[in-house]
Every structure is written in structure tokens, then in C-alpha cells.
């Protein structure tokens, strides 16, 4: 397993003040990264191998009694890709202007690919490439592998203002511009049926830009408040498509022009989209004890990116007999959301709340017939009974929820809340067009005194609904002439219940308690269990059990010593069932053969621990701090099969993270302090889907050969803190 080295010697020269009044702070530093560790620097400013600089800044002027203007500029990690900078200027009670920048790098490791041109929209093979029907026949695969760095970097720029127009009016606006650049992985497949699919993992370009503007007008009165707002969001992708030269050739069932060297594949990258939403929020005191909240939001999401052609291969395109039904989707989803809530305290002991929620995604996208070309590899089959004759299904849904909660203060120590929720969801083009769920909640909270408090939460719910027609998306999405040829008329097993639509009984219980045996010590415990049963599901997810336990302790005795510790354990267990069946003449027989059943039992165990201690000496002149945290994850999958199938055990997967953070702060003078910091992060993982799986391991898929992450990273920093 690859072990990226992370070598950092950080000499921080930090000059931060303490920012309790007007402040002037500056931080400068230098360091060096030996390598890019996967997780340590995943979001924390990973840089290329070599030196880096540290620059922090904080300048501010606070408002004064005789001058309410203020400003501040705050920056951190300014010389790293994870830099953050924020500036604000305003006058208390009059206006506020602000702007911010934030970098957010994401490192996803490296991979190896024979494709050239990563980052662009056309991926090509080396000039000496020779095609073949599978990876064993690709003689130039291993010699041609080159490394690609995966991940992306977000750059977020924000600006906004708030303006108090008159006593009761406030105008607020925010603009956010986020760009994202880098590489991700997408599977590129050529061919689609009859076992002729061949795929290669593609380094796909990420060049996104999301711009969002929000303008809101507030009107605030003693008894009621109103907010009206407009939200605009534009997503733009610099690239519409990713094309790659097909490395395979000579695959049975492909058009001769589909394989190497002439053939290519092309997939669509996320299309540009737009979203606009108008919203009105009202809060009103109906009486001194009763309050109404109403939130109305009407939105529209649109997407009209020009369609790519059915195929990128000219020879196949020449044979198209049924063209695209339209040049672009003209996709549109209207969103309508209304949330009403009335909350009242009719007396010292009673509280009640009624809520109504209506949330609708009305998909108005046109529905048309498309005759696709399977995986850029075959001639268009436009026959009436073609399986490639497909209708898009503009799925939408409407959710309505009623909530009633009654709370009663049993005594000065105990409070009981009981809630009833009923939710109905109507869906379009779904296997289950309507479902409903009723939930009952009980929440008991108690407090013996200031030292001991706790509670118990219980939930029971039952989800059901109308007839489950598992074949409906299949029948609605294909030509009837085709579905009539499919034995049984189904795609998925008729006994399958997709878990988000299936009948489900849920019981959930949680308890928590907090105890302060003495002033300086706090102990807390949380435990919970969630049991989901899908009793009506012959296939699919059948059962889910989640148990969690968390212990916390904190100690803060006098003398400048404080310590904390926590330990958590969560165990997730799932059971699912399936039945393996093939097509052709045996399709129905196998689909009804219990000997072809299989069962998978999953168990994920996640343990997390953390302990920290801090000690101040000499009136906070010297403070020492140590934090140790980590997690251990183990996942097992046990698969059992019927007599007609064969199975073998799967190894466990695991991941282990350990971090140690040591810090010492020594105040040299009133405004100067020295800080020493040392950090270790150790991450090991094992994943049978990745480890030892090389680009040429699979016959029909060229992978990137990524191992699961495994590294140890260290950083040391000596810094000087100064306020001037």
C-alpha cells in the first residue's frame, strides 16, 4: 500500500493580537511539505511538495460610544490554498458591508491511466496504443500508465450588505461566487448489452462555477416580522462533455467503427442550470403566548443545455434514422413550499404546536421519446420493439405533513412532550405513487437539580401507502412494443421493494443524561437504538439496526487544569435479499427459483475516542494542551446464497484514524507569546475493492489502480504571537 510521506517543518512567525479591542495582528510563517497526505491536508490547505508560507492577519476597529463605525479584516492561511479572508465595514445600527474569500481544497489521491489530456474534454491514447478485446490483450496498457492527481479546489468569494433603511426596515443582500477546478473520476463505458461493455476510469475535468445572489427585505414590528426575498442561483460548467478514445477493439457486438482506433465514447458532464426562488416569511404574535410562523417559497429550476448527439462516432451517427426529439431538454421543475406553524403557551404548564408543511417538486420537463445508441458502440435500433426506445420520466413529488405537539410540564423537574406527525407523499412516474407515514413521538426531559439532568426520546412510525407497482418505471420508460417482448413484463424482481418507497416500521429510542458530581466534573452519556423493519419486502433491504453509545467527561478543577474525554461507538447492521437471474430463455424460471436467492448481512462498527488536557501555569503565562483523537471503522459483509449459486467470503474493510495535537503557549510579554505546536495524523485503511486492484486487474474495465488511503503525517510549528 502506498504511503505518502508528509514532511512539514513549519516555522510560524505569528503576530496575532487578542482582538478584544481595536486590534492589529499579523502572522507570518514558513514551512515545508514533503508530500501531499490524503486526509491531513484534505481540507486544510494541502500544497505541492516543498515550502509554504503562513500568513495570518487581523486588523479591526471596534465601534465606540461616540462613533458607531467599525471595521475588521481577518485572514488566515493566506499563503495556502485554504486561505480565508474576510473584511467588514459598517456602522452599528445603520449599515454593514462585507466581503470574504475562502479556499477549500479537496485531495482525492492519485491514479494511473493510459489516457492523455487529463483536465481537458478530450482524452486520447498514446500513439503506440494497440487495441484489444480485454485488458489482457492491451499490450501497451501497463507501459503507458501515467499518474493523475485527483481532487479539486473550491474558491468561494462572497460579498454582502445590510442596510437599516428606516426604523422598521432592513435590506439585506448577499452574493456568492464559487468556482471549483480539478479532476474527478467518472466511469466511461463503451457498449451496453450482451456482455460487450468495456469501461475505463476517466479523469474528468471539474470546472464549475456557481453564482448565487440573495436579496431580502425585512420589515420588523413589535408584534410581527416579515421577510421577503429573492434567491438566484446559476450553475455553469465550462465543459459540456467528456470524450475519450476507446482503448478496446474487436469486441463482439460492436460496430466495427466503435473500437480503437476510430471509436470514441462521450458522456455528458453536469449541465448548466438555473434556480430562482421567491420567498415570504412571516412571524406574528397572535397573542402574548401564541405565535404564528408562515414560510412560503416559490421556485423554479431550469436546465436547457443543448443536447449532445446520440453518439460521438461519426460512422454510427451516419446511420441514425430517428433524430433527437428536441435540441435541448427545456427542463423545468417548479417548487412550491408552504410551512405553517402555530406555537402556543396557554399556561405555565402547557405548550402546543400545530404545523403544516407542503413541499412540492412539480417536474414540468417535457416527456419525449429518445432512441439512444447504446454506449457509442452500436447502430441505432429504431425498430418499434427496440429496447433503446426510451421515454424520459420527469419525476416529481408532493409532500404534505401535519404535525401536532403537546407539551406538559409535569413538575418543576419533569417535562413531557408528545407529538404526532402524518406525512403523505405523492410521486409521479414512481413505483409507488403515494405513500404515507405516521409517527408518534414522546420526549421526556427531567432535571433533578443543576447537577443531574437527562431525558428519553421515543419514536414509533409506520410507513405504507398505495400499491407498489415495481414495473411502472420500466413500463413507462420503454416502448410498449418492447416491454411486450420481455418475459414477465418486469425489469426488477417483482418482489423487490425499493427501500425508500417500501413499507417500513420504525422504532427509535434514545436516552441521554448529564451529571455533575462536583462543580468541576461533568459526565454525559447518550445511547440510542433505531430498528427499521421492511417486512413486506421480499427482496431489497429487509432490516436495519443502528445502535449508538457515547460517553463524555470533562474536568475543570481550579488551578488552570481542564480535561475532556469522549468515546463513541455506533454499530449499523443491515440485511438485504436478492435473487440472481439471467435473461433469455431461463429468465422467468430463474426469477422464480428460490435456489438462486442470496442474502447479505452488513455490519459496520465505528468507534471514536478523544481525550484532551490543558493546563495553565503562572496566571496563564504558560499553557500546555494535548489532544488525542481517533476513530476505528470496521465493515463486514457476509453473503449467503441458495443452492444454485456460489459465494465466497469477503474480507473485512477497515479504516483507522489517529491524531495527536500538542500545543504550548508561552506569554513572553503582555502582548507577545510563543507557541509550539506538534501534530501527528496517522491513517490506515483496507478496502478489498481497491487494494491490489491494478488498472489491468479486471478483464473489461481499466481502473485507476488507486489503493485505499494509508499515510502518516507530521507537522511542527514554532510561532510567535504578537499584538501591536
Amino acid at each position: 500500500m502506498r504511503r505518502p510521506r508528509f514532511r512539514a517543518v513549519a516555522l510560524g512567525l505569528m503576530l496575532p493580537g487578542l482582538a478584544l479591542a481595536d486590534c492589529r495582528e499579523l502572522a507570518l510563517g514558513l514551512g515545508e511539505f514533503g508530500d501531499a497526505a490524503f486526509r491531513y491536508g484534505r481540507f486544510a490547505g494541502i500544497e505541492p511538495r516543498g515550502g509554504f508560507a503562513v500568513l495570518d492577519l487581523l486588523l479591526c476597529r471596534v465601534a465606540h460610544a461616540d462613533d458607531a463605525t467599525y471595521w475588521h479584516i481577518q485572514g488566515s492561511d493566506l499563503a495556502l490554498s485554504s486561505r480565508e479572508l474576510r473584511a467588514e465595514y459598517g456602522e452599528q445600527g445603520a449599515y454593514r458591508l462585507w466581503a470574504a474569500y475562502r479556499g477549500l481544497p479537496f485531495v482525492a489521491g492519485t491514479g494511473r491511466t493510459p489516457l492523455h489530456g487529463a483536465g481537458g474534454t478530450g482524452l486520447d491514447l498514446p500513439p503506440d496504443w494497440a487495441g484489444g478485446a480485454n485488458t489482457a490483450a492491451l499490450a501497451r496498457l501497463l507501459p503507458s500508465l501515467g499518474e493523475v492527481a485527483l481532487g479539486h479546489e473550491r474558491r468561494l468569494r462572497e460579498a454582502g450588505f445590510a442596510l437599516w433603511l428606516r426604523r422598521h426596515w432592513q435590506l439585506e443582500s448577499r452574493y456568492r461566487d464559487e468556482s471549483r477546478d480539478g479532476l474527478t473520476v467518472l466511469g466511461g463505458v463503451v457498449g451496453s448489452t450482451g456482455g460487450n461493455a468495456r469501461a475505463i476510469a476517466l479523469p474528468a475535468p471539474v470546472d464549475y462555477r456557481t453564482r448565487e445572489a440573495d436579496v431580502a427585505l425585512h420589515h420588523v414590528r413589535d408584534g410581527w416580522q416579515l421577510r421577503t426575498g429573492v434567491l438566484l442561483s446559476h450553475f455553469d460548467n465550462a465543459h459540456a462533455a467528456l470524450r475519450w478514445r476507446n482503448p478496446f477493439s474487436g469486441v463482439a457486438g460492436w460496430h466495427p467503427a466503435a473500437g480503437f482506433p476510430d471509436g470514441s465514447g462521450q458522456l455528458a458532464l453536469p449541465p448548466d442550470n438555473r434556480f430562482v426562488q421567491l420567498s415570504v416569511a412571516l412571524g406574528a404574535a397572535l397573542s402574548p403566548r401564541t405565535r404564528l410562523n408562515a414560510d412560503l417559497a416559490l421556485g423554479r429550476a431550469t436546465q436547457d443545455e443543448p443536447f449532445l448527439p446520440y453518439t460521438v462516432n461519426a460512422a454510427l451517427a451516419a446511420g441514425i434514422v430517428q433524430p433527437l426529439p428536441r435540441a435541448s431538454l427545456d427542463g423545468r421543475i417548479d417548487t412550491r413550499r408552504l410551512v405553517l406553524r402555530v406555537d402556543s403557551r396557554p399556561g405555565e404548564h402547557w405548550r402546543w404546536q400545530l404545523g403544516v408543511r407542503h413541499d412540492e417538486r412539480d417536474n414540468r420537463t417535457p416527456r419525449d421519446e429518445y432512441v439512444g445508441i447504446g454506449g457509442d458502440a452500436q447502430d441505432q435500433d429504431a425498430s418499434p420493439a427496440s429496447g433503446q426506445r426510451r421515454f424520459n420520466l420527469p419525476v416529481g413529488h408532493r409532500e404534505r405533513q401535519l404535525t401536532a405537539v403537546v407539551g406538559y410540564r409535569v413538575s418543576s423537574r419533569w417535562r413531557l412532550d408528545a407529538g404526532l406527525e402524518h406525512e403523505e407523499i405523492d410521486r409521479t412516474w414512481s413505483a409507488r405513487s403515494d405513500s404515507e407515514e405516521t409517527r408518534v413521538r414522546l420526549d421526556l426531559r427531567g432535571r433533578r437539580d443543576d447537577r443531574l439532568a437527562g431525558g428519553l426520546r421515543l419514536l414509533a412510525s409506520e410507513r405504507g401507502g398505495g400499491n407498489y407497482l415495481g414495473s411502472r418505471p420500466f413500463l413507462d420508460g420503454h416502448a410498449s412494443a418492447y416491454t411486450a417482448t420481455v418475459p414477465g413484463g418486469f425489469e426488477n424482481l417483482p418482489g423487490l421493494r425499493q427501500f425508500h418507497l417500501a413499507d417500513r416500521d420504525r422504532v427509535q429510542a434514545a436516552m441521554y443524561a448529564q451529571w455533575m458530581p462536583v462543580d468541576a466534573i461533568t459526565l454525559a452519556i447518550e445511547a440510542g437504538r433505531t430498528a427499521d423493519d421492511y417486512d413486506a419486502s421480499e427482496f431489497g433491504l429487509q432490516r436495519s439496526r443502528i445502535r449508538n453509545l457515547q460517553l463524555d467527561a470533562s474536568i475543570a478543577p481550579t488551578g488552570g487544569l481542564s480535561a475532556h474525554a469522549f468515546a463513541a461507538r455506533e454499530r449499523l447492521a443491515f440485511a438485504q435479499a436478492g435473487r440472481s437471474f439471467l435473461g433469455g430463455a431461463n429468465r422467468l424460471a430463474q426469477a422464480n427459483d428460490p435456489a438462486r436467492d442470496w442474502f447479505a448481512r452488513h455490519r459496520d462498527t465505528i468507534e471514536t475516542v478523544g481525550v484532551g488536557v490543558a493546563r495553565a501555569f503562572d496566571g496563564n503565562r504558560l499553557t500546555l494542551r494535548a489532544d488525542l483523537a481517533g476513530s476505528r471503522t470496521r465493515g463486514t459483509v457476509h453473503v449467503a446464497t441458495g443452492a444454485a449459486l456460489a459465494s465466497a467470503p469477503l474480507p473485512d474493510n477497515s479504516a483507522r484514524l489517529r491524531t495527536l495535537d500538542l500545543a504550548a503557549d508561552w506569554r513572553l510579554a503582555d502582548a507577545v507569546a510563543l507557541r509550539l505546536r506538534y501534530r501527528i495524523e496517522d491513517f490506515d485503511s483496507a478496502d478489498w475493492a481497491l487494494d491490489g486492484v491494478a488498472p489491468n486487474t479486471l478483464a473489461n474495465v481499466i481502473l485507476l489502480g488507486q489503493d485505499s488511503p494509508d499515510y502518516r503525517a507530521r507537522a511542527a510549528m514554532l510561532s510567535l504571537r504578537w499584538r501591536f
Partner: protein, 317 residues
């Protein structure tokens, strides 16, 4: 080693220079964090002066530098501490026996609703709009559970420290953030209020955007669509497949693929195949199952969130 020595030497020289410079700035005795000039120009107001005769402590006086004291709309200039604590005439007459009208902490703390009312009377347009009846309010929290009105730095608001404030109650989220796949909460790059409205809002689980998917689209707008070929559960709820804070499986998935996919897709041939150790690589290459290894289902079905390619009905384009 030689180079490191030079850096440390340079650092020591600069440290000395700064220490000397800092010594010229001076600070208020007893509160080294506050420069003398800061208090000198900040008149606390007559009412506050009365209170400060007894309450002149580092835990109290920072409020004089915050908007609570300096904003012309706060009323502090006229009413001082009484703005939030009430006129407290009894307390002024007999401070040891009678508490102020409104007390925000300790054994003599006022009822939660009374405390909140003091805050919401000014913050009614923002934090106060959805506060009554929100999950946090219903759980008995008061504003001071997260905020310190006297402090000029608010850990619950500042991005670097916000998560620790939330973790003091939501302890399980801290543990989730340490999982192999997690949003960068512990790195401070994503903070709780990027998604949640702690004072209440129209969304479930205190989400600020009103719906789960609308929340996710703020940072993952490329998944908003609409797409020609939709993946229905994706359109309905991202949480069908993802755990938002942290997960044991890659991409914050609730369960491991391909098994997660097979909980909804059991069609003929490979979708219904029993994936097990028989699909692992053997002694000779090539071997192994393309449905199980690498990116498993996503080796071919790359567009799990929807495809806009006319030939992408199988989410492969």
C-alpha cells in the same frame, strides 16, 4: 539542520523586536488583553456605571465594546445594563438578597421564555423570527446556552470555533466528523450554520434552505438538474443514500456499494448477481468482477445523480 537553525535564529531576533515593540503599547492592568486606550474612549453610560461599581470584571466589561453597547438601536446608551436585565430596582436596593429582574445564568436564572424575550425584543427580525417553537427552543435552550452577550468574541458565530459550541450538545456529530468520509467540520472548512439555522427555520432538522436537497445544492449545484434521465431517489432526498455529517463508506454513503445499489436494482444479469468473494481477483489476471471492484456499479453507471445525455438512460452517459 543548518537551515533550521537559521530560521530559528531569525525567529528569535524578530521575537525580541516584537516584544520590545509590544512593550511600548501597554495594556490595562488586570486585563492584559485590553489596551488602555480602548476603555478610555468607551463611555459605558450612567446606568452601566452604577452596575460596574460591583460588576467591573473581565466577564462583564467586554460588552462595552460590542454592538450590544455601541449600537444606537440597542438602547444601552440610555438604559445601560437595564436594557437586558430590566430596571432591577430591588437589586439596586438590596443586591445581595434580590436578583436583577432578568438573570441569564446561575441558580437565580429567569425562566427561559423570559430570558429569550429580552434577546428577541431586539433580535426579532432575524434570530427571533422562528425561535419560538423551534427545536432548540422547545428543548428548553435559551439564547445564553450558545451565546455570551457580554463577550466580544462569539464562539458560536465564528467559523473556527462554532463546531465546538454545537458539539457540546450534539456530541455524536463530533464523532461522525472523525469518520473516514466526512464533511470537513473538524477542519473548520464547513461549519454547522452553512446548512443549519440554529434559531429555527422552515426546513426539517433546522435546515436553513427549507429542504434537504436545496441545502445540498448550495455547494453541489451541479446535481440540481433537472436532468433528462433522472434517478428518482436522488431527486426526492439526498439522504436516501448519504449521511451528511460523516460515514464509514466513501462519498458519505450510508452503505457500501454495490450492495446499496442492489437494494433498489435487481434486474436480470449483473444487477441481481450475488456479489461476494467470488468476485475478488484470482491468482491470474485478468480476473475479478467489474461489479464489485474499483468503483463497482459506477465503473459504468457514472451518472448516479442523473444524466443529460440522450443515450444515457442507464445513467452511463
Amino acid at each position: 539542520m543548518h537551515e533550521a537553525g537559521r530560521w530559528f535564529g531569525a525567529l528569535a531576533v524578530l521575537a525580541g523586536a516584537m516584544a520590545a515593540s509590544a512593550g511600548l503599547a501597554g495594556a490595562v492592568d488586570g486585563d492584559p488583553a485590553v489596551p488602555a486606550h480602548a476603555l478610555a474612549v468607551q463611555a459605558p453610560g450612567e446606568a452601566a456605571e452604577t452596575c460596574l461599581l460591583c460588576h467591573d470584571s473581565p466577564a462583564v466589561t467586554p460588552i462595552l465594546r460590542t454592538a450590544h453597547a455601541t449600537s444606537p438601536h440597542s438602547g444601552f446608551a440610555e438604559r445601560g445594563c437595564a436594557t437586558c436585565h430590566g430596571e432591577s430596582q430591588g437589586h439596586l436596593r438590596n443586591p445581595r438578597q434580590i436578583a436583577p429582574d432578568i438573570v441569564f445564568a446561575g441558580e437565580r436564572a429567569s425562566a427561559p421564555a423570559e430570558q429569550d424575550r429580552a434577546c428577541v425584543s431586539c433580535h426579532r427580525g432575524q434570530a427571533g423570527m422562528h425561535w419560538q417553537g423551534s427545536a432548540h427552543e422547545a428543548a428548553g435552550l435559551t439564547c445564553t446556552a450558545c451565546h455570551d452577550a457580554h463577550a466580544d468574541r462569539q464562539p458560536a458565530i465564528e467559523r473556527v470555533t462554532q463546531a465546538e459550541t454545537c458539539f457540546s450538545c450534539h456530541r455524536g456529530v463530533r464523532a461522525e466528523a472523525l469518520r473516514p468520509s466526512a464533511h470537513p467540520l473538524l477542519d473548520g472548512r464547513v461549519v454547522c450554520t452553512d446548512c443549519h439555522a440554529p434559531h429555527g427555520g422552515p426546513g426539517p432538522a433546522l435546515l436553513s434552505a427549507g429542504a434537504v436537497n436545496d441545502t445540498c445544492y448550495r455547494c453541489h449545484a451541479e446535481k440540481r438538474g433537472p436532468f433528462l434521465w433522472e434517478h428518482p431517489p436522488v431527486r426526492e432526498d439526498c439522504l436516501t443514500c448519504h449521511r451528511p455529517h460523516g460515514a464509514a463508506h466513501a462519498s458519505l454513503l450510508t452503505q457500501r456499494t454495490p450492495f446499496l445499489c442492489q437494494q433498489c436494482h435487481l434486474a436480470q444479469f449483473h444487477p441481481s448477481t450475488a456479489s461476494s468473494g467470488t468476485g475478488l481477483p484470482g491468482q491470474t489476471l485478468p480476473s475479478g468482477s467489474g461489479n464489485l471492484l474499483g468503483r463497482d456499479c459506477r465503473n459504468c453507471h457514472a451518472q448516479a445523480h442523473g444524466s443529460n445525455h440522450p443515450s444515457g438512460a442507464g445513467l452511463t452517459r
